[in-house]
């Protein structure tokens, strides 16, 4: 309750974590607002079906609010203003404002419980935050957006926030590193998926580090657990380092 979970990937694709959290929270009966910036709805839908959740049905019954970034962007650029009705959540793209206020308002409105809602806690899921930087948002604007979301979703609505970011070692993308580092300090839980340092392997797809913040105030050591994983068609198997099924 009220936690910020940061999903981070380096040298590999961490989107399997996003799919996991999406189906996990939907199955738990939470109301989810999914800001999907990188892929289309049908992509998530197809994967979710393999994981046992129907996104279209969740959308129908109001459990899932899905913002398809790609489609929103096209509507903003090529559509007519009158058609949209309300201001687009990706308003910052058109250059009229430089902050992500419209996006935050979208999130707030979607997750504020309406009368008659019987869902358990609200959840905000973002895939992925680094794209906002590519689209011209300033790192400060992105951090402000995250701050507002945390205040609203975690503190006021007692919900959870899960965000995916990309990062690279010796990355030259300073803006991205700034955002990632800042979020690392604010997160309660960090799931860091890394590609293997020694290169590509068929049986072990990567390493995942689970870093749990025990307390933000006291200077206690964070709890770190490391596993390796292999992604399959319908699930992901985790195992201790060096104990992949291929080796045993």
């Amino acid at each position: 309750q009220g936690k910020l979970t940061l999903l981070r990937d380096t040298r590999t694709d961490g989107s399997f974590l996003v799919h996991h959290f999406l189906s996990f929270y939907l199955r738990a009966g939470c109301k989810v607002c999914f800001v999907a910036l990188l892929q289309s709805f049908s992509h998530y839908n197809i994967v979710a079906q393999k994981l046992g959740v129907n996104l279209a049905a969740a959308k129908e019954r109001g459990q899932l609010v899905f913002l398809e970034g790609l489609k929103s962007c096209l509507d903003l650029l090529f559509g007519d203003e009158e058609q949209l009705g309300q201001p687009s959540p990706l308003q910052f793209l058109s250059g009229s404002t430089s902050d992500l206020r419209a996006l935050f308002d979208f999130v707030r409105v979607s997750l504020t419980p309406a009368d008659g809602d019987s869902w358990k806690g609200p959840v905000l899921l973002v895939d992925d935050l680094s794209v906002l930087l590519s689209l011209g948002a300033a790192p400060v604007a992105v951090l402000d957006f995250m701050h507002y979301c945390r205040m609203c979703v975690c503190c006021q609505l007692k919900g959870n926030v899960v965000v995916l970011v990309h990062s690279n070692e010796d990355s030259e993308d300073e803006e991205n590193e700034l955002v990632v580092n800042s979020l690392c300090h604010h997160s309660d839980l960090i799931l860091w998926a890394e590609g293997l340092a020694t290169g590509f392997c068929k049986d072990v797809h990567g390493l995942i580090k689970i870093i749990k913040r025990l307390s933000l105030r006291q200077a206690e050591q964070d709890q770190v657990q490391v596993y390796q994983y292999k992604i399959q068609d319908r699930n992901v198997t985790f195992f201790a380092r060096g104990l992949s099924a291929a080796v045993l």
């Binding site: 962007c73 650029l77 058109s94 930087l133 689209l135 991205n176 399959q232 068609d233």
Partner: protein
């Protein structure tokens, strides 16, 4: 969205680009060709001619000793993967192999070129008209290209907007040398370009257009000229598939005996992971290409056997160095005097 990093002199990436378009013609797809460098009409005149099944069979027989056919199949699978919306069935065809083969020494006949509908976008002819969409601080060249693509997609019904159209087709989009100075973008010239977001915004909108229509796109970019690596990282994140071509021309590898059979390396930086948790990863990631008189082939990189006893220290280290680069599976690798087997 297939993103190709051009090799230094653009020779081989141009070839890949033409292959993509030629495949489109042979499959009956519509084409959209955009360039700021060459007029698209000229590009289309220079597409390689397709090899008919029977003649290729004969060629293969001749060269069977050199190339294993499953290598070929494998390389075609890696190089020609393209993205479509999952709901679409491609036209019912019974190709036994994936894709076609082309003869680089012959040009495609004009009748075959004319058999499909194609649209072109030559930047210097289009600059006069004002883009009607909101440009949102994007480079005007990119903005008008996007508008042109969007117009074709909606006019020709690739986005399913025309329910009357029974026969659905695929639009193959090829964009040459994006990001180069010819498009008006200075991302290739300086470390801190004036508008560092134009290219990434363009790619994002293009991705949106591709996802909502039946189209596939290949882009070639002179990546070696882009000095700001942050932009390359962002661009990689925004593309489905990223392939880099490194040619040996003019580099020290040209004389390296390890690479004497090949003209360059193919680096697959990213493979698409669409509609599934897993992606289709092949066994090996080390591919090299060579351009023979008639064929352009992409093969697994084979190291020649290290048979000589008197191999000098320097080249042995080279061998060990490149053996480290070849990471294939978790199997043990025999480094040293033994023949390397894959």
């Amino acid at each position: 969205l297939v993103f190709t990093e051009e090799d230094k002199y653009g020779l081989y990436s141009n070839l890949l680009f033409k292959y993509f378009l030629a495949e489109g013609i042979v499959c009956g797809h519509d084409l959209f060709v955009a360039s700021a460098k060459e007029h698209p009409d000229n590009i289309l005149k220079e597409l390689p001619a397709p090899l008919l099944d029977d003649t290729y069979g004969k060629e293969l027989g001749d060269e069977a000793a050199a190339i294993k056919s499953e290598d070929f199949q494998e390389s075609m699978k890696i190089a020609w993967r393209y993205q479509n919306l999952p709901k679409v069935e491609t036209s019912p065809t019974t190709y036994t192999k994936f894709g076609h083969y082309y003869d680089v020494s012959k040009k495609m006949s004009p009748e075959l070129c004319q058999s499909v509908k194609w649209h072109s976008f030559y930047l210097h002819e289009e600059l006069s008209s004002e883009p009607k969409m909101k440009t949102c601080n994007m480079n005007s060249g990119y903005a008008s290209l996007l508008q042109s693509i969007q117009r074709i997609i909606s006019q020709e019904g690739f986005d399913g907007s025309d329910p009357q159209k029974k026969q659905r087709n695929i639009l193959r989009i090829g964009i040459q040398s994006l990001g180069s100075i010819l498009w008006g973008d200075d991302v290739c010239c300086s470390d801190t370009p004036e508008d560092s977001h134009s290219l990434t915004k363009f790619l994002y909108v293009l991705r949106g257009l591709l996802r909502k229509s039946l189209s596939a796109c290949i882009i070639t970019v002179p990546a070696h000229l882009i000095q700001n690596k942050a932009i390359m990282e962002r661009v990689t994140n925004l593309s489905d598939m990223v392939v880099g071509l490194e040619s040996f021309i003019g580099s020290e590898r040209e004389t390296n005996p390890l690479y004497k059979d090949y003209h360059g390396l193919v680096h697959v930086h990213q493979i698409p992971r669409l509609n599934s948790l897993i992606c289709d990863v092949s066994d090996t990631k080390d591919l090299a290409f060579r351009l023979k008189r008639k064929l352009f082939t992409i093969e697994r990189l084979h190291l020649p056997p290290d048979l000589s006893d008197t191999v000098s220290r320097a080249s042995k280290q080279d061998l060990a160095g490149s053996a480290k680069l070849l990471s294939s599976g978790c199997g043990a690798m025999a480094i040293g005097k033994k023949h390397l087997d894959f």
